[in-house]
């Protein structure tokens, strides 16, 4: 049945108020503080570690990008340097200088073969700018291009006018292919004689392929190449080839992909076009990246600019993984802390319930105990009263019976029976009173000094006198030594009588021997040894408890009273079966 909310909250408050004692509160706060501290330290440390590792990874990317750009620029410079050397060699060849086409042709083809990776063709223009020869071309194609006037091309005009090497931007050639050109003047013996040019045609995609092949796959960089005016010679995205980096198309791309870094990148391009290299951190499509730019200088002239952009994504990935671990640790710690608190609360609740149960049981026991005490007291009082009340009429009966015994000789046996039973009843009432005193802890000893041997002698004599007619059992007293003790004479007499009574009850024939002796520790031991039936082993453990006796005639209280009297004297009492026959009861007192 669902508990109503108000009832539930009431229960919760009640139990929380009960559980959260001051001690428990301290415990809970301690656990929570430790958990919170560990969480905070762990979180902060993870954060620190994550930032450190990301920073290290980013630094690694920066330096590797720089090395990468440097290597790429060097590789490209070497490659283009080879091309320029080839152009130089061709231009200085005598056949070329003299316009001996037939002898010069093989040289062009050979040069083409030596740099197949980026070179599309080598071309020879005469001093008028007309095509003389194209490397590795068949006769039909040659006939098509032969004498084509390219004098308007800057790659012709510039070396003609400057007598120096020229690097073109990207040109949509007559065949529609995007190429860049490196041209070298052919000069006569005296350097002012211009005899034409040799040109290397390099496809934009071929140079891109070369650069891409040199890129380290680990960096995931993008590489691009600009000419010395900022025109893109190569970019992975073909639509930007031939466009100016400062032109609207490329600027729009930059502005849309990294508006915050637009200024930094433009600054980088400007610096690079002025012959400087550098590294900048930029944001590309909301991801951080490193932008490295290097000018490419050939023959002391700037050919262009190479730049690479390396995203920091992999550094972010590393940091992201650490971040995940950090969050996981934090969650774990919070869960552990929550579990710890829950466990503490459960233990406290359980503890509280246990405490309540124990309290309840203790109360129950206390009540039961009180009830038992009352009952016991009432019982004792009853026995006490009963015994007194029983004894009161016994005395006159006994007195009258004894008087009648003397007076009525013939009816003596009947009267004796009355007297015997009255005595037995008297003993029972006496014993009951003694038990009542013992259990009511009101047994009082009236100590005096006396000779124990003498006492035993009197008791024995008394017994002999009382049992003069009984046959078969001989009562003997062995000790002749006088031993003085300080004890309650009457009670000790009672103990000895009880033990003798007990021995006589279980001995049909033979002897009952009473002996006294002084122990080495000064205690006085009195033994009653019989030749009777002995003690049943099953009775021995509770021999001295109430009503343990198997006797037909006794009250069953004698041994219990004897033990209590002996112990009240600071002594002890015990019994054992003899080796041959019968049993021996012994008590010792100080």
């Amino acid at each position: 049945m669902p508990v109503p909310l108000s009832r539930r909250s009431y229960l919760a408050e009640t139990s929380l108020n009960g559980i959260l004692s001051r001690k428990n509160l301290v415990l809970v706060i301690l656990v929570v503080s430790v958990a919170a501290s560990i969480s905070t330290i762990s979180y902060e440390y993870s954060l620190y570690t994550s930032q450190q590792i990301e920073e290290l990874a980013v630094n690694d990317i920066r330096s590797n990008s720089d090395i990468q750009a440097h290597d790429l620029a060097n590789s490209l410079s070497n490659k283009l340097g080879d091309v320029i050397n080839t152009l130089q060699i061709i231009s200085r060849n005598r056949s070329v200088m003299e316009g001996d086409t037939e002898n010069a042709k093989p040289m062009f083809n050979q040069a083409d073969d030596s740099n197949p990776e980026i070179i599309d063709f080598y071309m020879w223009l005469d001093s008028e700018g007309k095509i003389v020869w194209l490397s590795n071309i068949n006769q039909t194609t040659y006939e098509q291009y032969k004498n084509t006037d390219l004098s308007y091309r800057l790659y012709f005009i510039t070396p003609r006018d400057t007598h120096q090497v020229y690097y073109s931007g990207v040109i949509d050639s007559n065949d529609g292919v995007a190429r860049l050109y490196i041209s070298y003047p052919i000069l006569g013996e005296s350097s002012d004689q211009f005899r034409g040019i040799v040109v290397a045609g390099i496809r934009s995609d071929a140079i891109g392929g070369f650069l891409e092949s040199q890129l380290s796959p680990n960096l995931q960089s993008e590489v691009a190449l600009l000419d010395n005016t900022g025109i893109i010679l190569y970019s992975k995205d073909q639509q930007y080839v031939g466009k100016n980096v400062f032109g609207i198309r490329f600027q729009s791309l930059l502005a849309s992909s990294n508006p915050e870094s637009l200024g930094a990148m433009n600054e980088g391009f400007t610096e690079a076009l002025s012959g400087n290299s550098g590294t900048k951190d930029i944001t590309l499509n909301e991801e951080k990246a490193t932008f490295v730019y290097k000018p490419i200088i050939l023959e002391g002239k700037q050919f262009g600019v190479l730049y690479i952009v390396s995203p920091h994504a992999y550094a972010s990935d590393v940091a992201g993984l650490i971040g995940q671990q950090k969050n996981f640790s934090l969650i774990l710690i919070v869960i552990i802390a929550a579990a710890a608190i829950a466990a503490i609360l459960i233990i406290l609740i359980w503890n509280k319930r246990l405490e309540q149960t124990i309290d309840a049981k203790t109360t129950e026991l206390r009540v039961a105990n009180e009830q038992l005490k009352t009952k016991d007291k009432m019982q004792r009082e009853f026995i006490n009263i009963a015994a007194h009340e029983l004894r009161t009429p016994i005395q006159p009966i006994l007195g009258a019976a004894e008087m009648l015994e003397d007076e009525l000789g013939d009816k003596k046996e009947d009267i004796r029976m009355i007297a015997r039973n009255a005595r037995r009843l008297e003993k029972l009432t006496r014993d009951l009173l003694d038990v009542a005193r013992i259990e009511g802890q009101s047994l009082k000893l009236d100590k005096e000094k006396f000779d124990i041997g003498e006492l035993v002698s009197i008791v024995v004599k008394d017994y002999r006198k009382r049992f003069a007619n009984s046959d078969g059992v001989l009562l003997e007293f062995e000790s002749k030594v006088n031993i003085i003790v300080e004890a309650d004479k009457e009670r000790i007499t009672q103990v000895i009588s009880n033990l003798i009574d007990n021995a006589l009850k279980f001995t049909k024939s033979g002897r009952v021997v009473i002996s006294t002796k002084k122990e080495s520790d000064g205690r006085i031991a009195i033994s009653v040894r019989d030749t009777g039936t002995g003690i049943e082993p099953s009775i021995i453990p509770h021999l001295f408890t109430k009503f343990a006796s198997k006797s037909q005639s006794g009250t069953g209280l004698g041994l219990f009273i004897s033990k209590s009297i002996v112990e009240a004297h600071g002594g002890k009492i015990w019994a054992q079966n003899n080796e041959d026959e019968g049993a021996t009861f012994t008590f010792s007192i100080p």
Partner: protein, 351 residues
């Protein structure tokens, strides 16, 4: 009391165990507004990435600035050849210095103008040939395609080879729009005409312009149109050397090669700048994109700021039939019978 403490402790436990972190984000913004109000004098800056010496686009800007000075008596600061990378910082510099009006000459200035305008609410920026607007940034986007439509018609009618060409500085949307107008005008006048064009990606390189123009002229082109600023001078030179007609842009470029430059579409930049100054002075400046179209001649009534330069000494080379057809088309444009749509993406030429 005990319950209060218990609640407080429980709250503290929950807070500590869960480890709630509160992150406050604060934003701040500059909402200062300068209400428009009439002014008696203005501090004006005219800035461009072009060269004032380009005999065309850049020079038109400088001329218009000087016209404002002489007309209103204000001092107008001018600055040219500003690297693209420095456009934004240049605008900021003038805004910071408290200029009332910055006239930015060129489409490249559009986005930076928006950013700077947002930051400096007190300044007004007008982007000539721009297509941007905000509260304090306006654009004047002349319907240049109407002017180039007329040039296209001339080229289509004057070509002997039926092949005409064009050279653009860069594939800007507004440049594309100009050439699209040129193509439409040429086809309207001569459906058989073939058109060859290229872009230089360089506005200030006459040698490159000449090389590209020559490559085009070699393909049997006998009329070539350029929109390429300084590079365009190379185009005109190539036309002159190759004996073909050239068509100029923005200014009347006949003086560069009187026997070669047949006509030019001219932007009445003085009029456009004057409109910007007037609205700022009157406090009626509105952050809008104005698209003034063609006018019959320089300074003509109406909002138009695009007109055609005369044939000058080449007038005799132009047949009367061509002139009358041209007049007819001009009237149709002025009266809206011919609409030349804006096209910012290059259309494929029919085979």
């Amino acid at each position: 009391m005990a319950r209060t403490i218990t609640h407080a402790v429980m709250a503290a436990i929950i807070v500590a165990a869960i480890g709630v972190t509160v992150i406050a984000f604060t934003t701040s913004g500059n909402f200062q507004r300068n209400p428009a109000e009439p002014k008696s004098t203005l501090r004006i800056a005219v800035v461009t990435d072009a060269l004032f010496s380009d005999k065309g686009w850049g020079e038109s800007s400088l001329n218009a600035a000087r016209a404002i000075e002489s007309k209103y008596g204000f001092e107008v600061v001018t600055e040219d050849n500003i690297p693209i990378a420095n456009i934004e910082s240049t605008l900021k510099r003038y805004a910071e210095a408290g200029y009332d009006l910055i006239i930015a000459h060129g489409v490249q200035w559009g986005d930076p103008a928006l950013r700077v305008g947002k930051q400096y609410q007190g300044v007004k920026i007008v982007v000539f040939t721009g297509l941007v607007q905000s509260e304090n940034v306006a654009s004047i986007f002349p319907q240049q395609q109407q002017g180039s439509f007329l040039l296209g018609a001339i080229a289509g009618m004057m070509t002997q080879t039926n092949v005409i060409g064009y050279v653009g500085g860069e594939e800007y949307p507004n440049v594309v729009n100009i050439f699209e107008g040129y193509k439409q005008g040429a086809r309207a006048a001569n459906p058989d005409v073939k058109i060859i064009g290229t872009y230089l990606n360089d506005w200030d390189n006459p040698a490159k312009g000449k090389e590209a123009a020559t490559a085009i002229i070699r393909q049997n082109v006998d009329v070539i149109f350029h929109v390429a600023d300084s590079s365009g001078q190379g185009v005109i030179e190539s036309a002159r050397e190759n004996g073909v007609f050239a068509l100029g842009a923005v200014q009347d470029q006949n003086s560069l090669a009187p026997d070669t430059v047949l006509s030019s579409f001219v932007l009445d930049v003085d009029k456009a700048y004057g409109q910007a100054v007037n609205s700022t002075l009157a406090g009626s400046f509105r952050g809008e994109i104005r698209k003034p179209g063609i006018e019959a001649e320089k300074g003509a009534a109406g909002d138009g700021i695009v007109y055609l330069a005369s044939f000058h000494d080449l007038d005799s080379e132009v047949p009367t039939s061509v002139k009358s057809k041209l007049q007819e088309i001009t009237n149709d444009l002025l009266e809206g019978r011919i609409i030349v749509p804006e096209r910012f993406e290059e259309t494929l030429l029919p085979p």
